[in-house]
């Protein structure tokens, strides 16, 4: 059975950090205690009820808990960090680090997300109906391992450095993607239905990128055959595709498929 806790934004703030509003943190509270769960507003820790109307009750485990953030805005940051199970629904947009380092569960965002969404994701699923900012599924600064598992789906557009140092899992993006898609990609699959920006697959070592829209291919990629269609996750993606192998300034064993 799914228990539901709802937080409806009632009072705005320049910046809120809601990393405590996950199924993992909330399932440890009783229905009465959730009013007083602390969130960060700047340098102050405040009860969540100061900014959100709180209702519902959490389940006994993360898997049995659904958290809904209503009327969410871009200044609401860190939603779903470290989530290991359950569901987090964000009605509206939210800020940075959504689903950062999650190990399970599902996050659905109706609007946009900021930077570093699904940063170092290990498992689970993130669905963004709107747009995503930069560093989707990326490693953290100085980290040489990005997303290692799980699924990311974005219906809108995505910014730059998407999939940086990615080492597993999959991404599907319906819109356009900015510069440096799959930079330092080590393993994993990224499928883009729209166009991609500059330097797609820069410094990639292994991994697979499939682009259905426009893509300017770097000079360190070598054409390596054509394919009429591709079989990916039990789905047939119709081509035809030109395969490019690269980045030859690195190991050069990555696959970049561009629809002709």
């Amino acid at each position: 059975m799914m228990y539901e806790v709802s937080f409806k934004l009632k009072k705005e703030a320049p910046r809120l950090e809601i990393d405590t509003l996950t199924p993992d943190c909330l399932c440890l509270c009783s229905a009465g205690e959730i009013q007083n769960v602390k969130i960060w507003r700047g340098k102050k820790e405040v009860p969540v009820s100061e900014h959100f109307e709180v209702s519902g009750e959490p389940g006994p485990t993360p898997e049995e808990t659904m958290v809904v953030i209503e009327n969410s805005k871009p200044f609401v940051h860190y939603a779903g960090m470290f989530m290991s199970g359950g569901i987090l629904k964000i009605k509206g947009s939210c800020g940075n680090y959504v689903g950062s380092r999650m190990t399970g569960g599902v996050i659905e965002v109706e609007g946009d997300v900021g930077d570093m969404a699904a940063n170092e994701m290990k498992a689970g699923k993130l669905v963004v109906k709107g747009n995503a900012g930069n560093y989707l599924g990326s490693a953290w600064w100085g980290g040489t391992t990005g997303m290692t598992g799980g699924q990311v789906v974005v219906e809108g557009n995505v910014g730059g450095m998407c999939g940086q140092w990615m080492e597993g899992g999959s991404m599907r993006i319906k819109g356009n993607v900015g510069d440096f898609l799959g930079v330092k990609l080590v393993r994993g699959v990224i499928i883009v239905e729209g166009d991609v920006g500059y330097a797609c697959g820069a410094m990639m070592t292994y991994g697979r990128i499939i682009v259905l829209g426009n893509c300017e291919v770097l000079p360190t990629y070598e054409p390596d055959g054509t394919y009429d269609e591709l079989n990916m996750f039990d789905e047939v993606i119709k081509g035809p595709f030109q395969l490019y192998k690269g980045d030859i300034s690195e190991e050069g064993k990555g696959d970049l498929y561009v629809k002709k």
């Binding site: 960060w40 340098k43 102050k44 100085g142 040489t144 500059y198 330097a199 000079p219 300034s249």
Partner: protein, 428 residues
């Protein structure tokens, strides 16, 4: 009676020249020998326009009142920002960090709008480098990539690089090959033995192509980023045969499309070259102590810039906690130290700075002081007070004072100490 001070450290740019000779007469600097034009202007013009008065809301007040007001502003704000730091001493920066931790502020230095991409790149791959004297003594091939030393670091060529002679390159310029990579000709590129004109925003491709060629791969194209592949092959050969290559780079790489990825690709190239010969890569740091600002912030918080203390321990998030982002978006107060963000930050940040409680500590009034609520003039490091600064290659020098500052004007450290005392009182 003229006092002559020798071996004076110039506190303007990252070259941190320490052979300046300053002549002082009646407490005033009258001559600067060995200085470049920028340095001379700083020394001879150190008194500024003379309007170094402490002000709160436009009215002259005592420094104690201004300090109390500054403390109140920082304590009462929920998202205070401390920014600047690159043009003051390490001693002041250490105190700034202590203050940031006390008031739960974000703290950032000017590298976040300059060489932060370099720091980000190094976080991912590291950095083969050396001190400038090692460059002078050993380098027989110099590559200047996206920088213009004759304008930004006027004595660099003579003291450290293209024209300097050293142990293994005794004939100076004649023992060296100088390569410039840039999007256009500049005054500096006229010194080049080889000028490579790269298409704007395509440096990362160039670095990748050079690395692939170095690894013995063949490229399927004839030109990369507007440069003929045969010319790239020549450059690779020049470097492979060299005994010691040093690449200097500037904002042409850090601020063009790709940013830290440009540097990351360039460092990746440097690492590959190290399998064949000595190959170092060194950023051309701008302000005289931006290197020190990064160093001090790192040894105190673990991170070189873009730090936040709002949760009582340091967190790092460039693009989120860095000054431009915080000031444009959610910051509600700021303490600016030794900088002038109102003169060069994006419009949205400037507008918000004008509207929020703002404190400026700087030797002289500037654009930021036009909109600040509190302005506290402070002593100029290296002229009116001493302090430690780090050269662009990390070498630490101690800048001494050569003249007294105006009566009643304190150093950054003293002001920060007093602000912290007031903050302690307010916090109970």
């Amino acid at each position: 009676m003229v006092e002559v001070h020798t071996d004076v450290v110039c506190t303007f740019c990252g070259c941190l020249c320490d052979d300046i000779e300053i002549h002082v007469e009646d407490g005033k600097i009258v001559k600067a020998v060995n200085s470049c034009a920028i340095s001379r202007a700083k020394f001879l013009g150190h008194e500024g326009n003379g309007h170094r008065k402490v002000k709160v809301s436009g009215s002259e007040v005592s420094v104690d009142d201004a300090i109390k007001k500054a403390a109140e502003i920082l304590v009462n704000a929920e998202n205070p920002v401390i920014y600047g730091l690159a043009s003051t001493s390490n001693e002041a920066i250490r105190k700034s960090m202590e203050l940031a931790e006390m008031v739960g502020a974000k703290i950032d230095n000017t590298s976040s709008v300059c060489h932060a991409p370099t720091l980000l790149a190094m976080q991912f791959v590291g950095d083969p480098k050396c001190t400038l004297g090692h460059v002078r003594n050993c380098a027989d091939v110099l590559i200047f990539w996206g920088c213009n030393p004759t304008q930004a670091h006027p004595r660099h060529f003579d003291r450290y690089s293209a024209n300097a002679s050293g142990y293994f390159v005794p004939k100076g310029k004649d023992d060296k090959k100088v390569v410039f990579i840039d999007v256009r000709e500049t005054r500096s590129t006229k010194k080049a033995d080889l000028f490579i004109k790269v298409e704007p925003d395509r440096d990362v491709e160039l670095a990748g192509a050079l690395k692939a060629l170095l690894k013995g791969k063949k490229l399927s194209k004839d030109t990369v980023a507007g440069v003929k592949v045969v010319d790239l092959e020549k450059l690779v050969e020049i470097c492979k045969k060299a005994r010691f290559v040093v690449t200097f780079f500037g904002l042409g790489l850090t601020q063009s499309r790709g940013k830290y990825l440009n540097i990351q690709a360039a460092i990746g190239l440097a690492r590959e070259f190290n399998k064949h010969t000595k190959f170092h890569i060194i950023p051309m740091r701008g302000h005289y102590n931006v290197t020190g600002a990064n160093a001090v912030m790192t040894w105190i918080s673990g991170f070189g810039y873009g730090v936040d203390y709002s949760r009582g321990y340091p967190r790092y998030s460039p693009g989120e906690f860095s000054a431009v982002d915080a000031l444009s978006d959610y910051a509600d107060a700021a303490l600016i130290i030794a900088s002038d963000p109102v003169s060069n930050f994006p419009k949205k940040a400037v507008k918000r700075m004008a509207e929020m409680p703002l404190v400026l500590m700087d030797p002289h009034p500037n654009c930021t002081s036009l909109v600040s609520d509190v302005y506290i003039p402070v002593l100029t490091v290296g002229i009116e007070t001493e302090g430690t600064a780090y050269r662009m290659d990390g070498v630490p020098l101690y800048a001494r004072k050569v003249v007294d500052g105006p009566a009643g004007v304190l150093s950054d450290e003293e002001v920060l100490d007093r602000i912290m005392e007031e903050v302690k009182k307010l916090q109970g």
